[in-house]
């Protein structure tokens, strides 16, 4: 299948005969990246599925007004991050849970979820990541797994490059210690 550039997809969406088709191509292009970004935050597949669908429905509603002063994929990541954080906030509100208990619940899910593959050290890394504060965890995942540039992360998260660098390195250091100590 031909993979269109973001500019071509936007052009097709705005001026083509079939914006639904163009949007479908956009979903196909970015669904996996968006899905795994959200999954690393939320852990559970069913919840992630809801959040990803919401992300793309919101993207559909906003795409005609999308201004190209940002990249399309950072815009999608931004919506997805916002949706994932909103989801976690609602989960905490619904169960009156402090943040730490949500992370503990997610960590237990990593241990027991049959939908998790990987050997002991890889699972240990996931558990280490879940000991990080929520926002530090997002910063770490974007940098470590998505290999995103700090400048792009800054677009996604609306945070300065300096703050992101400090956050990532502190997160990496904490994980390193966890891996040695546990």
């Amino acid at each position: 299948m031909t993979e269109y550039s973001d500019g071509e997809l936007l052009e097709q969406f705005r001026n083509g005969d079939n914006p639904n088709y163009a949007f479908n191509l956009l979903v196909k292009k970015y669904q996996q990246k968006v899905y795994y970004h959200v999954r690393r935050i939320i852990i559970d597949h069913d919840d992630t599925n809801d959040v990803v669908q919401n992300t793309f429905i919101k993207a559909w509603k906003g795409l005609s007004n999308f201004r190209e002063d940002a990249q399309l994929f950072t815009w999608l990541y931004r919506i997805a991050t916002n949706e994932a954080l909103t989801f976690l906030k609602k989960k905490r509100t619904a169960f009156f849970l402090p943040i730490v208990n949500v992370e503990r619940h997610l960590s237990e899910k990593v241990e027991s979820d049959p939908a998790m593959s990987g050997d002991a050290i890889e699972l240990k890394l996931q558990k280490a990541i879940l000991t990080l504060p929520e926002k530090q965890r997002i910063v770490f995942n974007l940098r470590y797994y998505d290999e995103m540039k700090y400048e792009e992360m800054s677009e996604v998260l609306g945070t300065s490059v300096g703050a992101l660098k400090a956050s990532y390195h502190i997160a990496a250091q904490k994980i390193e210690k966890y891996m040695i100590g546990n």
Binding site: Q53, M116, I121
Partner: protein, 149 residues
Amino acid sequence: METNNSNTNLNQDERFPNLEKAGRKNLFTVPEGYFNQLPGTIAEKINAGKQPVTYNRNYKPVVLGLSLILAIALMFGVNYFRTIENKEVSQPVISYQDIHLTELEDQVIYDEITVEDLADTTIQDAVKSEMYDYLIENNTDISLIINEL
């Protein structure tokens, strides 16, 4: 996105050997055919004009209980619970600038850095090292900065 070639510093970070040993393998699996079906599912919802879901699929009993408590509280003039917020979910996204990630402002990121983190010399070294990398990556003349001090 960074490519592997332009990102050797990230991929071979000797400061975090145990982290590097664990690798970057994606551990999360999805049901078979999930990514083949997802675009169709999203298209169906868009065509049906569905609004985004409000994430209460599993929480109905809790939400009912909360509603009861809220009603009782309101009867007694207590309104502590009125700040429960779902504005971000119910309002459609209009533009890039409308997606405010207030929870991720710099201050919040810095707030997550604890006093213990700052006292940790290995972390200080890591941050310093990253700052130097940043200056080098951006061809910043360090002597100019020193002269300004």
